[in-house]
């Protein structure tokens, strides 16, 4: 099943209601306030947030002066293009090292899906016959290392881990050394979930990143903030605080196979200019996709879109 079929399947149950209401009050030509209110509801319910939604609605109002929309679909498409534009302007593919191992580090709050995302990335690259090393730098959560070990076995990646409670910086150090020694193509660093409000834990994260960049010049090539697709407006604050501590190069929005739309990514992209690089759409190892701005934007409005 394609990504957007999957997305839409999830959305179908919830979006029909609003969509039919919007359909019923839409009139070709001028956009009434009542209509714009309903449109606002669509965006807010997708967790886009009040600020970003207001900006989008305002620009639509401007645009509607010059032209009239024949159908609701036309209008959705215009809005979706607007949203896609926000992402397109900051879009960047996953960076790869010129030589030596490429390093991706996953960071994020507890339960956002870092370990699963690492597993999916490991699957992606080992199936391309790349040599992958996993670093279990989450030494805090019970059995986090065991979880990664299962994934390492399943995907055929190497694993570097220390005992529970040991220094994550030391794990990062050993993993970086191992990645170089074993001539790995890719080093994936899993970190412990940490709430952005915990200053000490944010300091610990800085240290992990520092260790990696000291051992492998130019690394980490990506520091991905993993955000649960069901996250609400707090996601923006998470992104802001994490980005202040370490250089966040991109987002991975997870759990998009539910009915949530991950609209918080729009707010993060427009306010902080952090691009979305990956989306998680299921529990299988293969359920990780590169981000597609147009597809994502269309799904916010529930528009049919051919799989890209």
């Amino acid at each position: 099943m394609g990504l957007f079929q999957k997305l839409k399947q999830g959305l179908a149950r919830t979006s029909n209601n609003i969509r039919s209401k919007i359909q019923s009050i839409f009139q070709p030509g001028a956009l009434t306030d009542e209509f714009l209110d309903e449109l606002e509801a669509v965006l807010i319910q997708a967790d886009v947030g009040v600020e970003a939604t207001t900006a989008l609605i305002d620009s639509l109002r401007e645009e509607s002066r010059g032209k009239s929309f024949e159908t609701v679909e036309d209008l959705y498409r215009t809005m979706a293009e607007e949203v896609a534009g926000i992402f397109a302007s900051i879009d960047a593919p996953l960076k790869v090292a010129g030589q030596g191992p490429t390093v991706y580090t996953m960071v994020g709050v507890n339960g956002s899906g870092k370990t699963t995302t690492i597993a999916k990335l490991a699957h992606r690259y080992t199936s391309q016959n790349k040599k992958v090393v996993l670093a279990a730098a989450d030494t805090f959560r019970a059995a986090a290392g065991d979880q990664l070990e299962v994934w390492a076995k399943r995907t055929g990646a190497d694993l570097v881990r220390h005992s529970h409670g040991s220094d994550p910086g030391a794990v990062a150090f050993d993993a970086a050394r191992a990645a170089i020694a074993r001539k790995a193509d890719l080093l994936l660093v899993d970190t412990a979930g940490r709430l952005h409000t915990k200053k000490n834990l944010m300091e610990e994260l800085k240290k992990v990143i520092r260790v990696i960049s000291r051992e492998i010049p130019g690394a980490p090539h990506e520091v991905i903030l993993v955000i649960d697709g069901t996250t609400g407006q707090n996601g923006l604050i998470q992104a802001r605080v994490f980005a202040r501590a370490v250089d966040i190069t991109g987002l991975c929005i997870t759990k998009l196979d539910g009915s949530s739309k991950g609209g918080i990514a729009v707010a993060i992209a427009s306010e902080l200019g952090i691009p979305v690089k990956l989306v998680g759409v299921g529990e299988q190892a293969s359920d990780l996709r590169d981000f597609d701005a147009r597809g994502f934007a269309h799904s916010l409005f529930g528009i049919d879109q051919v799989e890209c």
Binding site: Q9, G10, R13, T14, A41, I44, Q45, A46, D47, G49, V50, E51, V109, N110, G111, S112, G113, F140, R141, A142, A143, A144, D146, Q147, E149, V150, W151, H164, L195, H196, T197, K198, K199, M202, D228, T230, T231, G232, Q233, N234, G235, I237, Q238, V241, K255, D257, G258, S259, S260, G263, I264, E283
Partner: protein, 440 residues
């Protein structure tokens, strides 16, 4: 500006109207727009907000509010009251009555915090004298069973599971049988994370329920959840008829509007709040405090409780006495800093103060900073500590040398001290109830 305190925003809105005599319906609508914004920013579900605002509007149009001299406060009061009643009004205890073992099943989305909650709940029940058996029914996520086993060890309670090739409902049933054999009186079932739209998995949730008839079926929800919370709760409630909610990750700065959405759509109470990585960080849920938090009004009650728990009561009494006599020395200053530090992260505390709900984390104390302050104060003579006004330039140089710091740091400390003293003496004469709070 997003995430400002609702109170100050409302006050601004109504301030513009001052001097116009009575408020009109239009003015109230204007104010309620602010309330609506605050609720949406707190991630309260859009539909819930709509309905809620309609209800509040009705109450606000009451003559009492329109003619009040302080309409902003009246509106906030009404909103606050309505939120509290929506959130369940009072605290709801766990029901583990009936013939043992009482079974508690935890359900929720992936990553909401079920396994950690299982451990926290187990510890709390153990402390109240129950014999708890933790059962892992998560056969999907790698090492999930192992995680619960470790957590059970940390909580000091028993653990049970079967191979991950056994179906979850069978594990659950065997777990309960095992509890009967081994005289455990509470069984906590940790289930796999599942999406509410995954029919197969939801059916499994139902089968676990039917196999074990849990008295409590708790939905574990991440406080940072957005608009989806409604659909999630509705669907779980439909399938397993939840008896309550556990709200997790409340130690984040999320406003936690999800709580309201869930309470509204399911009509089920929120029973526990989980707020930290330690197993002890688990509390009974208080609707009034949550209402304040959603509105960005801070949580003074929790702050006071924390202060009471951490402060040495005798010292507090001494301090109050000193302030009455307008004595405040560097030694007292040092004591106060240590007391405040005992209460935990300064940033967390600041955020509980009304108007500071969104304060940035940078205000956190650097533990090294405190050590440096201590060194500076210890390098002073007893006379200087008692009477800091005598600390001249040459004394400052000596203190800096003695403490291994710089004159600038000594200056900064003294400046902070003088400011604090000034503030304290001003507050010293005011409200008695603030006695315990006045020092920060």
């Amino acid at each position: 500006m997003a995430f400002e305190s609702l109170a100050s925003r409302l006050a601004d809105t109504f301030k513009k109207l001052r001097g116009r005599g009575k408020l009109s319906e239009k003015d109230i609508n204007q104010g309620l727009r602010e309330v609506r914004l605050a609720l949406l920013e707190a991630d309260v579900n859009f539909k819930v907000v709509r309905e809620f605002i309609a209800n509040v509007r009705e109450r606000c149009l009451d003559a009492e509010v329109l003619e009040s001299l302080t309409p902003a406060q009246q509106v906030i009061k009404i909103v606050h009251q309505e939120l509290i009643s929506l959130l369940g009004g009072r605290t709801h205890p766990l029901d583990i009555s009936g013939p043992p073992p009482a079974v508690i099943a935890l359900y929720g989305l992936q990553g909401s915090g079920k396994t950690t909650t299982a451990g926290k709940l187990a510890l709390q029940l153990k402390k109240s004298g129950r014999r708890v058996l933790l059962v892992s029914c998560d056969v999907y996520r790698p090492a999930a069973q192992k995680q619960l086993e470790v957590v059970a060890g940390m909580a000091g309670v028993s653990f049970f599971t079967l191979s991950d090739r056994v179906s979850p409902e069978v594990i659950a049933k065997k777990g309960v049988e095992k509890a009967v054999e081994s005289a455990h009186n509470v069984v906590i079932l940790d289930t796999a994370g599942r999406l509410q739209i995954d029919d197969e998995m939801m059916d499994e949730a139902r089968r676990i329920k039917e196999a074990t008839l849990p008295r409590e079926r708790l939905l574990v929800v991440d406080a940072m959840t957005g608009q989806e919370a409604c659909q999630v709760a509705e669907e779980f409630d439909r399938v397993v008829d939840i008896t309550g909610v556990v709200l997790t990750k409340l130690d984040s700065d999320a406003r936690g509007g999800a709580a309201l959405s869930i309470a509204k759509v399911t009509g089920k109470p929120i029973k526990f709040a989980s707020l930290g990585e330690k197993l002890e960080d688990f509390q009974v849920f208080h609707p009034d405090r949550m209402a304040s938090r959603i509105l960005g009004m801070g949580d003074v009650l929790t702050l006071i409780e924390k202060a009471e728990a951490a402060f040495d009561q005798q010292k507090v009494a001494q301090m109050e006495e000193k302030l009455r006599r307008k004595q405040f020395t560097l030694e007292d200053f040092m004591d106060q800093m240590k007391e405040v530090k005992k209460m935990g992260s300064f940033g967390d505390l600041i955020r509980m103060i009304p108007g500071f709900a969104r304060a940035q984390v940078d205000v956190d104390f650097d533990p090294k900073e405190l050590a440096r302050v201590e060194a500076i104060i210890n390098s002073m003579t007893p006379e200087e500590r008692q009477n800091p006004d005598i600390i001249s330039g040459s004394r400052r140089r000596r203190i800096a040398r003695g403490s291994g710091t710089t004159v600038q740091e000594v200056n900064r400390l003294l400046k902070q001290f003088f400011q604090a003293r000034k503030m304290l003496f001003q507050m010293g004469s005011s409200d008695k109830r603030l006695g315990r709070l006045r020092l920060f």
